[in-house]
Symmetry: C2
Subunit: 406 residues, 2 copies
């Protein structure tokens, strides 16, 4: 007797669960150390010690009623001001605390934004490949998700197709950089061109098109790569941030939205985001965690851990002859499947106890996602299996693939 809409969602969810169960089944059968599960995007690096210290300090120093209490639905004012000031220092922006709405993670923030913005039937564009949950977030508010096809040479967004797909019904665009599942960082040139197109279309249709930048992986950028701060390029930009990865606090559900002064109807959007936070049942971002992250704005997880994995995995896979874009950020690698049907490749991988997610789940068949937020030993242990996989598909060892050159 559940809602009709939920039935297919439950079915889709069973597929994810099935994969998870498969991992557990294989671990029981072959021993956990002999199963190489690259299917889960769960941070496996501990939060910086400063976070736990901050939590205990807060409980000692601050008023207990206030620490665990209600506040403005948008969050504690001092926390919002501290975050704005930190962003201003880092990115040369000029946000005030009013621009910040504390959220129950980035997923909570995106839901708040779509509740705030979307009328039924309005369109939200997203670039393939993309995190599949966006589909539900948009559907929750009867929006229509439109998928811009991928540009597989570089996995930068396909801006030609993008420009052609914007209509008078386009209310928002989601971007995600560093990207899940590709690990690619959208370049400044890409961002500038995207902003140009959006401005042109806003003026053509007399509409407001909100660019919603989902940034849980912002701090996971390797080799000093810069991740452009989007609000500086396009006026109608909303940033959704999470501490899930930057401070390894995914279970704590703590993040924020940035709603800059430059937004069309900024005051109205902020007011509505405040109300949406309340009525969707979030009410506010968890209070103690708000206060904890405000004390840890300069902290970050050990990036070196992920980077070591990244290098080991990339070098190993390259040696086997696999093709992929060398990831610049996040903790994902998007491998070109040696056969067109990447699900067959995933099945074959299981023979060597390697678990990967088909690209179809990210609207990009022909590829598979490897999440390298695993132990270093998992990567090392998986390599003989990858070598055999490469041999099975006749890949030329150490051969330079089409897309492995950067």
């Amino acid at each position: 007797m559940i809602a009709e809409k939920m039935k297919s969602l439950v079915k889709g969810s069973s597929a994810i669960r099935a994969m998870f169960e498969e991992g557990k089944r294989m671990a029981a059968l072959y021993g956990a150390q002999n199963v190489y599960d690259f299917s889960l995007g769960n941070p496996n690096v501990a939060a910086p010690k400063a976070v736990n210290e901050a939590i205990c300090q807060i409980l000692k120093e601050e008023d207990p009623v206030e620490v665990h209490g209600y506040m403005n639905n948008s969050g504690y004012e001092d926390v919002r001001e501290a975050i704005a000031a930190s962003l201003n220092r880092r990115f040369g922006t000029s946000f005030t605390g009013d621009a910040i709405v504390m959220t129950v993670g980035a997923a909570g923030g995106l839901n708040v934004m779509f509740k705030t913005l979307l009328n039924p039937g309005e369109e939200v564009l997203v670039f393939a490949p993309f995190f599949g949950e966006y589909r539900s977030y948009v559907d929750n508010y009867e929006g229509v998700l439109k998928v811009v096809p991928p540009q597989t040479e570089t996995f930068q967004p396909n801006l030609k197709a993008f420009g052609e797909m914007i209509t008078e019904k386009t209310k928002a665009v989601i971007i995600n950089t560093p990207n899940n599942p590709t690990g690619v960082i959208y370049s400044e040139d890409t961002i500038k061109e995207m902003a140009r197109i959006l401005e042109e279309k806003e003026s053509q249709f007399g509409s407001s098109i909100y660019l919603i930048s989902d940034e849980p992986y912002r701090e996971l950028a390797y080799d000093g790569a810069q991740v452009p701060y989007l609000t500086k390029y396009y006026h109608n930009t909303v940033v959704g941030y999470s501490y899930s990865k930057s401070l390894s606090l995914p279970g704590e559900r703590i993040g924020y939205l940035v709603l800059p002064d430059e937004l069309d109807d900024a005051e109205e959007v902020r007011g509505a985001a405040n109300v949406a936070t309340r009525i969707l049942g979030f009410v506010n971002a968890p209070s103690l965690m708000q206060r904890a992250v405000a004390r840890c704005l300069d902290e970050q997880v050990d990036l070196e851990f992920y980077d070591r994995n990244r290098k080991a995995l990339c070098e190993g896979l390259k040696k086997c002859g696999f093709s992929f874009i060398w990831p610049q950020g996040a903790f994902y690698l998007f491998l070109k499947s040696p056969v067109e049907d990447e699900k067959e490749f995933c099945e074959k991988g299981k023979e060597y106890h390697i678990l990967m997610v088909p690209g179809s789940s990210f609207a990009c068949p022909g590829y598979v996602r490897l999440a390298y937020c695993v132990s270093y030993e998992t990567i090392q242990g998986a390599m003989p299996g990858f070598e055999k996989l490469a041999q099975d598909y006749g890949l030329k060892s150490n051969g330079a693939g089409r897309t492995d050159e950067n």
Copy 2:
């Protein structure tokens, strides 16, 4: 450019904010100690010390990746089992951990349930007076809220009207006991008769009607009053619980749903609630707080504090000649306005620096809500003002009102 639906919600929200701002304005003008703000339902008693101790212990003892990490969207299995066992001990139920879904507070839990259950146009019944946010929670999923008129003699639910209002479109019923705004606990007789009606209507229409019991005030029951555990009376009962009041953790957003085996399609409902938790952007209830409440299942805030306020307020108001039902639970008192237009009464109260919420906000005009989760001094300080108010309306001092006898 916000969504049409949000516009009226933002307007409604401005009224609440205006009241809040009025309190701040008056405090600045007359001094905070001379303003008697009974408008806010914010717990003002600190969480038991054991909660903060548990948090720091967990951070010391448990695996940091797990403590702050993702888990099953329904919550940590050990936490869910501990909660089920605690409920079984207290209420003679026989829940397993599978029946528990950890939620972002009770508000999060209600949203998860309505997402899980409601098809557009399906009806949800609620008994006036009721917490106004229910209207939004139901509307979020295009449900239609139907308000059962109040029964002002006792503020027990009006079951005659209830029975007549159930149709083949009725998917759920919300009840809230101890009640916000009346402080009334629904009696076992009430519950039994309600269950009888629901079973009769389910059989008449061949439908499933879910009784959703919103229980954030369960532990705030005075004079040893018993709050019947609803799942024992009606098979299709879902309990929504929160630690906001019982442990004074409203800002932490931690609670749970109980989805018993006896529910129609129990497995499907649980699966859908799990998915709804994820796609609405909650993802999971805050992880550290899940683990903390599991260590504090036998803890409770200092009930004596609220009870002292309750007695002082009730005795003082009775002496003035006001009419009301003596509250048995929660921290609200629902006063009969001495004039039909209770908004006029609220305005008049401001002359004596007393802030109250009109009953219209709870679909019950002619009454006002006083939240006595304030300092004892606030209650003492307000009494001269209440005396003058009573005189202004010609109430007979110490007179027994129509509804003040229990």
